[in-house]
Each structure stands twice: as C-alpha cells, then as structure tokens.
C-alpha cells in the first residue's frame, strides 16, 4: 500500500510541473476514479481483519446457556443477562461507567458532569 504523495510542490520545481501540466492534464473535469487513495485505504483497513476472525468461542455450546424447554417457559430476560454476567464478570462494572448507564457526560476527572439526559442540559424536541 502506497501512502498518497503529498500535494505540496516546492516552488522551485514549477517549470517542469508546468510543462507536465500542459502535457498530462486533461482539460475536462476528472471524475473520481476507483483508485482514489482514500477509498483504497478504507477498503484495506476494513478488510484486513475480518471481524469473524476475532471470535474464538461458540456460545451455543456453553453449558451456562443451555436451558430446558421447561425452564424456558418461566425464563425472564434478566435471567439470561445473569447467565452472561456469570462469565463476563467485568461487563456490568464496565457498563455502569458508560454514558448509556449514567446518562451523563464525564468531566475531566471522570465524574458525571451536568450534560446529558440525566443532567441539566436542555434540548428543544
């Protein structure tokens, strides 16, 4: 992968640049091509590591997640969450720190600030 060449052309190279411009540049507006470097980079960045490669466990085989038909009749969503948390033992603690839980932005010290739905900022919708 080649990084895009900087556009910055030193002024002393102007004359050859001028002649090149004359010779090589079509006058008509150029339509963006497939090989725009930003697109190449993005495709490379998102395809380099397919997400499936990061999964190392098949959750359907975990005994904690096996529920009998009888159990499933009375099962509540919270019971499944508990089953998740029995292994993912940091998840709840992590989640309690997030804006999805506090509904508040954090100040520089990491404490909930005034802003957010749980704060005293105001919207108009």
């Amino acid at each position: 992968m080649q990084m895009p060449r900087s556009r910055c052309q030193p002024f002393h190279s102007l004359l050859p640049v001028t002649l090149l411009l004359l010779a090589a540049r079509p006058v008509s507006a150029s339509i963006p091509q497939d090989d725009a470097p930003g697109r190449q980079m993005a495709i490379q960045a998102t395809q380099a590591k397919p997400l499936t490669h990061t999964i190392t466990a098949d959750h359907s085989t975990f005994s904690q997640l096996q529920f009998t038909l009888e159990q499933q009749k009375t099962l509540k969503p919270e019971d499944v969450t508990k089953a998740c948390l029995s292994c993912h033992n940091q998840a709840a603690l992590q989640f309690h720190q997030t804006i999805h839980w506090t509904w508040r932005d954090k100040d520089d010290a990491g404490n909930p600030a005034k802003f957010g739905k749980g704060g005293i900022s105001v919207n108009n919708f």
């Binding site: 910055c8 052309q9 102007l14 004359l15 001028t18 004359l22 540049r25 008509s28 507006a29």
Partner: protein, 214 residues
C-alpha cells in the same frame, strides 16, 4: 516624413507567437479569473479554476524563457523608457490624429515602439505581469503557505491584489485593442502582428535615440 511607404519586417515569428500567446492568455485569464471571482458564470467554478491554473502556470513558465530571450537578443532595449517625443505622441493621440496628422514617431527596426508604447509595455512586462504572476502563484500555492513559512499572509489580501491587477489588465486590453485601429488603415497594425510586415514611411532622418546602440 516625406518618404514613400515601404514594408519592413518588424516582428519576428517568435515575437508574433509571444504576442498572440499573451493575447489569448490574458483574454482567457480575465474570463476565468472573473468567474473565480464570482462575477460571471461560463465554464463552471471548478473548470474556471482549472483553466486559470493551467494557463497561468504555463504562461509563467514561458515568461521566464521570454525574459531570457529578451536579454540574449538585446531586444530588451526596445523597452528602455524615454521621454523624448513622449509629449508629441500624447498630443498626437489627443489632437493630431483628428487632424489627419502623421504619427510623430515612425516605426523602424531599431525602434518598434513609440515612447508611449515603451512606457506601457515596460510597465506591463516589468511590473504588472510579474505582479500578477507573483500574486497568482501565491494564490495558487495557498495550501502550502504554512509549509513555506508564509502563514502570516492573508488570502483575502492576495486575492485583492490579484483582482486589482486583473482590472488593470482589463483596462489595458480595452485601450490596446482600440489603439490597434489607429494605424494608417483600421487593420494595418493587426495585420502586421499576423504577417510580421509593417508598412511605414521611409525615414530620411533617423533620430539618434532611434538608432540601435551597440
């Protein structure tokens, strides 16, 4: 000024190319420039910028060669300003021309331009065009200013200066095109700029300053 009319080969191929190249360049640069400025709509903004850049940079490159040519061929001496007969030339265009008087300064190989032309073209070539090229180049290179230590400059000021130069060129162009018609016929001068041959009165007495001094 009693000599008969003779034809002299006044403008070389290179000079004629140079003249018409500049004429087309100035015309297109004015058109695209005033489109970039938002005054007219013709090519579309993007194409106007593109054309303006290409023509401007090309002219700049050829201009450097032209300056080199001027000094190598000593043709720059045609542009050394003089005040001799300047008043007479001015008086001619303001008054004598209406009386059908002959031009006070006849063109010759050693003096292609009358004193007023000398001043005008010197001002154009030595001041206005370089001024437009420098401000235009800075405008073009706007994004590289910080890298070149030019961050203190203001795009607004550069654009303003370049615009003022553009207006000056527009006014020059208007007057220049009109002055072309003031030859002994309406099309005499423009024909000469195509063929190279200018019809002049055969001079009997050539003034000292008109002689090529080597």
């Amino acid at each position: 000024m009693t000599g008969k009319m003779i034809k002299i080969y006044l403008y070389s191929k290179f000079e004629r190319f140079w003249h018409w190249f500049q004429a087309v360049s100035i015309f297109l640069l004015l058109l695209t420039g005033f489109e970039v400025h938002g005054t007219i709509k013709l090519f579309g903004f993007k194409q106007a910028v593109n054309l303006h850049n290409i023509i401007g940079l090309t002219w700049l490159g050829i201009f450097l060669f032209f300056v080199f040519w001027m000094f190598v061929t000593l043709e720059y001496r045609q542009y050394i300003p003089t005040t001799k007969k300047l008043f007479e030339v001015a008086r001619h265009y303001a008054y004598g021309i209406f009386k059908g008087e002959p031009h006070p300064v006849e063109k010759s190989l050693n003096a292609k331009h009358n004193p007023m032309q000398r001043l005008t073209y010197l001002g154009l070539t030595a001041i206005l065009l370089p001024f437009q090229m420098i401000t235009g180049l800075l405008y073009w290179g706007y994004n590289d200013w910080s890298g070149l230590g030019l961050s203190w400059m203001s795009l607004e000021v550069i654009a303003l200066l370049h615009l003022i130069g553009g207006f000056a060129l527009l006014i020059f162009l208007i007057i220049h095109v009109y002055m072309v018609t003031t030859g002994h016929t309406l099309t005499a001068h423009v024909a000469a700029m195509f063929s190279g041959w200018e019809e002049v009165h055969e001079e009997e007495n050539v003034a000292d300053w008109e002689k090529k001094t080597i």
